[in-house]
């Protein structure tokens, strides 16, 4: 049985030896590594989902307050109609 296995493997080797590509050493021209792609994705994700904290200056707060307290001058016209 072992001889049969050996024979089969010899046949396989003969068949595969017929189509061996030529020996060359190719250098990849600046191929983007998967590690770099993952690292880049991670950085983008961190930037997108990081907690945002916004600070307002005094002028911004004053502007927001004045907008909040502003009433349109036409409100007086509505006073008589809406109960």
């Amino acid at each position: 049985m072992t001889d049969d296995l050996k024979e089969r493997f010899d046949e396989l080797r003969d068949e595969e030896r017929r189509r061996v590509p030529p020996f060359t050493i190719r250098r990849r021209a600046a191929r983007l590594s998967y590690r770099w792609v993952f690292a880049l994705l991670l950085v983008v994700l961190l930037v997108v989902i990081r907690p945002h904290r916004t600070t307002f200056s005094e002028a911004d707060l004053a502007a927001a307050r004045s907008i909040g307290t502003w009433h349109p001058p036409t409100d007086v016209l509505l006073k008589g109609t809406i109960r």
Partner: protein
């Protein structure tokens, strides 16, 4: 995949085994260059058998095997894998190919998502006779470690000890893989 073919050029003829070389300071040829040339010559000599082993490590996918082998050569010439002479060059090279193929397999799922699937190589389908196709089918059905030991012993004419070195296991473990693998393979072939 974008590749640029660069043939490493050496300005001297390869050495024959046992040839003595003097490395004097005036010579433009350094010891490192000679080592590289000698290594390249030996890799070229082992290329057909290395390709066959790469095929075995990549499930007989020719494209993957070529990629893995190129990656291995580049790794060796970039100094990422160094032969320290503790084992035979062939067993060391086979171990590097095996590790490179394992790393290649780990990135397969990513490549399947990002790149189009290559068309099935019809020529390679016709390559094998019915008898060897049967053997390959049976091989594909046994455990990876068992398959590796069996291939190293029967296809590459290695001893079980050398096969153990290639796959990085103890001799006892390799013997067990060999015995079980052979039994399973014969069972699969009888089906």
């Amino acid at each position: 995949m974008v590749t640029r073919r660069v043939r490493m050029a050496f300005s001297f003829s390869p050495l024959v085994p046992g040839q003595r070389v003097s490395y004097d300071s005036a010579s433009a040829v350094t010891k490192q260059q000679v080592d590289r040339a000698e290594l390249e010559r030996q890799l070229e000599e082992l290329h057909p058998t290395s390709f066959a082993w790469a095929l075995g490590c990549c499930g007989r996918d020719r494209q993957d095997a070529e990629d893995v082998l190129q990656e291995t050569y580049v790794k060796i010439f970039a100094g990422k894998a160094r032969f320290d002479g503790r084992s035979m060059l062939k067993t060391w090279l086979f171990a590097v190919i095996r590790r490179t193929a394992a790393a290649h397999r780990r990135t397969l799922w990513f490549r399947h998502f990002t790149f189009a699937q290559p068309a099935v190589d019809a020529e390679s389908e016709l390559l094998h006779s019915e008898r060897t196709a049967e053997l390959l089918d049976a091989l594909a059905r046994i455990a990876r470690r068992q398959r590796e030991v069996i291939e190293l012993v029967f296809y590459h004419d290695m001893t079980i000890e050398q096969a153990a070195e290639v796959i990085g296991v103890s001799l006892g473990t390799a013997r067990v893989h060999y015995q079980r693998g052979k039994r399973r393979l014969l069972q699969e072939l009888r089906r």
